[in-house]
Amino acid sequence: MAHSGISVLLEGTNFTRLLGGLWVTVKIAAIALIVGIVLGIILGVLRTFKNRPLRLILRLYLEFFRIVPTVVLLFLFYYILPRQMNFNLPADQLATLVFALWVAAEMSDIVRGALISVPKHQRESGMAIGLNRYQLYRYVLIPQAISLEIPATINLATRVIKTTSLLMLISVMDVINIGQQIIEANNHSHPTGVFWVYGLIFLFYFLIDYPLSWWAKRLEKKRLERANG
């Protein structure tokens, strides 16, 4: 058979273009995660302080990013902000920003939850040896919170990576957008190309996300073993 659909992947530079798209996807997800996690840890620590107005503002921030669907956030930042506020960024940087803000919001809740589940006695025995607030968080609370929050953080990472598939909607040249272009350009010569291209994209996402989710499960199991053993 002249055209078994799979050859579409090897036609011209198609495969390297798909890999290039994957690189864009991974880069956006990775930068957004790094920036978002760091920011989220800071916000999460702040949310355990007693200051009520501060807590309220951070809570509203979290709820905004949690309730508004990611697509709407992307459109908001891509179409509305530039026009209303003259805020212009290339699509991929803008996507990174939106994702980072979203990760920060979700991460703040993970960190806060982990910090407040460290027993109150730990805080008190830290205070009893004269630790100040910074030292208390640095040496006692945060290290104990980390083992609680790592599995949830990895799960957040897998969600972020999956959600990058929305980026084509604001014209970022991610792996899905490039796949779409390849399908359309080869529609005549390779009518079943869509199956192979999306099949490969599925495999890409699976290869990135599955190890992460396996790792999260393993860490959680270990933590439970330690806690109950």
């Binding site: 008190e124 025995s125 009893a128 040896i129 004269g130 630790l131 030292q135």
Partner: protein, 246 residues
């Protein structure tokens, strides 16, 4: 007359609307061992937690080593280095080894020299028979061992004054004696000033110079220990002793 380490004057404590400590007046002299007795819920723990700022109080003053405490968080951080506290539930930091639990205060808070602090921590561990456990994590220790480490952790800051809050209450019976002997050693050999909240009447009798008897947030009596255990001033304290069966 010996120096007063701590004086409490007209201290009142509320939890929101609920009045839990009423007009507490107390003073403790250098080297004195005071045991705080009373039925559960009488406010013993709340009182000693007020003494190192873990609980706020609404009225009254606390004078420590001659200086009136201005109860800000910063001041308490300083004072807590002088007032060691050991809790019922030991509360070692599970993320740190035994030696790091002990060294956290001396090195990070007091900025003591690292190697000297380590040498001293080892010595303290040896004094409670735990010299082989410096590098293990708290989860590998028994309750009694954890509590001994918790005492060492408090002592490593060189406190002038110690608070013990029912430190044997959650231990297996066979562990209790070891802990009590350590506290007794501190009182007798090191002449440490301390307030001990306990339900171990025999121990209270052995160690106390003076008993403060508390009920429903009121100090009912303060009596030299010998007298308290033979003939307390109040009927309520007599009834309490009778009920303790020791």
């Amino acid at each position: 007359m010996a120096d007063k380490v701590l004086e409490v004057e007209h201290l009142e404590k509320y939890y929101q609307k609920k009045h839990v400590l009423f007009d507490i007046n107390l003073s403790i002299q250098q080297g004195e061992v005071v045991t705080l007795l009373g039925p559960s819920g009488s406010g013993k723990s709340t009182l000693i937690r007020c003494l190192n700022g873990l609980e706020e109080y609404q009225k009254g003053t606390i004078i420590f080593e001659g200086k009136k405490i201005v109860p800000t968080e910063k001041n308490w951080q300083q004072i807590r280095q002088k007032i060691g506290m050991v809790f019922q539930s030991y509360d070692l930091f599970p993320n740190l080894t035994v030696i790091d639990n002990i060294l956290l205060g001396p090195i990070k808070v007091q900025k003591q020299d690292k190697s000297a602090a380590r040498v001293e921590a080892k010595k303290l561990l040896k004094s409670v028979d735990l010299e082989d456990y410096a590098d293990v994590y708290p989860r590998e220790l028994s309750g009694g061992q954890k509590q001994r480490v918790a005492i060492v952790r408090a002592l490593a800051l060189h406190p002038d004054f110690m608070l013990f809050d029912e430190v044997t209450a959650s231990l297996d019976p066979e562990m209790v004696r070891g802990i009590l002997n350590i506290i007794k050693g501190l009182a007798n050999m090191d002449n440490m000033t301390m307030i001990v909240v306990t339900h171990e009447m025999n121990f209270a009798q052995e160690i106390a110079d003076r008993v403060v008897f508390l009920e429903n947030g009121h100090i009912l009596e303060q009596t030299p220990a010998k007298q308290f255990f033979s003939k307390p001033k109040t009927d309520r304290a007599q009834a309490f002793l009778d009920s303790m069966d020791f």
